[in-house]
């Protein structure tokens, strides 16, 4: 007798010890909760910083791209400003080129360098004298030789501009022909860059569907027939096939909007 607690199998000291342990456990749980909440808040800070960095980086990239584009357009305008009757040839050819690129290989049209190359293709013409560039009569052999240097001159002008990448290849190779009879390097088939092969079709399309002092513009259907007729000689047959899948309305809109 006198130790009733022991009768129940638990002593007062045991109860005290259990209570103390309970208090400790509760405190531990509370501490862990506090720690977890602190960790979550720290994670939120990490995430907020990452997001801010991401947004700032993206804005810088976009700003950089816009200034690349503005620079390329300024250069392209410099060439266009000289030429009275081709008008917005570079802009149109770039739009046609992007449509054809998209029809040929979607990814190709998403690379900004490709559009840059289309816009800048004739930049080398700044080095060609007016007397040759605007000569209404056929060029002499010597004059033609000089005129045909413009792709290489263009490529040399742009050579050190790193961001132009593939655009420089388009500038150099935009007068190459699928059968290897083009210039300046006489490349044939797939040795010509894909973007330059796409460009060749766009350039011919624009030339045929634009008025010239010596002939009126051809209708789109006629231009298509001419391009088809030169598939495998002037043009890559696969690109001509892709070109034919483009809705005529799309091409007509480009022609009308960018006169």
């Amino acid at each position: 007798m006198g130790e009733p607690a022991q009768d129940q199998g638990v002593s007062t000291t045991d109860v005290d010890a259990m209570l103390a342990e309970l208090v400790t456990l509760r405190k531990e749980v509370a501490d862990r909760r506090t720690q977890a909440a602190a960790a979550e808040r720290q994670l939120d800070r990490y995430a907020a910083d990452l997001r801010a960095t991401f947004i700032a980086e993206r804005e810088r990239t976009e700003a950089l791209h816009r200034s690349y584009m503005a620079t390329v357009r300024a250069l392209s305008n410099a060439v266009e400003a000289r030429d009275a009757y081709t008008g917005k040839h570079a802009e149109r050819v770039a739009s046609y080129g992007l449509e054809i690129a998209r029809a040929t290989e979607w990814e190709l049209a998403t690379q900004p360098e490709i559009e840059f190359g289309f816009l800048l293709h004739d930049i080398g013409k700044v080095a060609i004298p007016d007397a040759i560039l605007y000569k209404p009569e056929p060029l002499s052999v010597e004059e033609r030789r000089l005129m045909e240097r413009h792709p290489v001159i263009g490529w040399e002008i742009l050579r050190d501009i790193h961001f132009l990448g593939e655009a420089k290849v388009v500038v150099r190779s935009h007068h190459e022909r699928w059968d290897g009879t083009g210039y300046p390097d006489g490349l044939a088939g797939t040795a010509i860059s894909l973007a330059a092969r796409v460009f060749a079709v766009a350039d011919t399309l624009d030339a045929l569907t634009s008025d010239r002092p010596y002939r009126p513009a051809s209708p789109l259907s006629e231009a298509r027939d001419i391009i088809v007729a030169e598939s495998g000689t002037h043009f890559d047959p696969d690109i001509v096939t892709a070109f034919l899948t483009i809705d005529e309305g799309v091409l007509e809109r480009i022609r009308l909007e960018q006169q």
Partner: protein
Amino acid sequence: MVVDDSHAIRHLIVATLGDVGDFELFEASDGQEAVELARRVRPALVLLDIHMPRMDGVEACRRLRALPETREARIVMLTGTGIDQEEAARAAGADLFLTKPFSPLDLLRLVSDLSAVDREGAGPAAQSRFPRP
């Protein structure tokens, strides 16, 4: 919409995305809850964990693809490593998958690209920034 049975992962995703785009975030902790919620809120994008109790991500994905209200949603499956999980995600109709542990930066890129597509309309340029597998 974020679907994962782990509270920690959901919190991480919600914390990462924050206010990066113009969207509302919804959370679900298993596939069944996800499908029910998605029918109501019609999410543009579903980030779907592959392993969950009750209904896993593969089954949830299949159901989302079958329902007219959720058929058009972009579905990104969160998978473990292993080609079989990628295959399962693809077969169930997921657009993309992120392998856990996924890069929070990739997640940010993906979601901000998608909200750009929504903003600009699905123009070709915007579409192409969202890579399809």
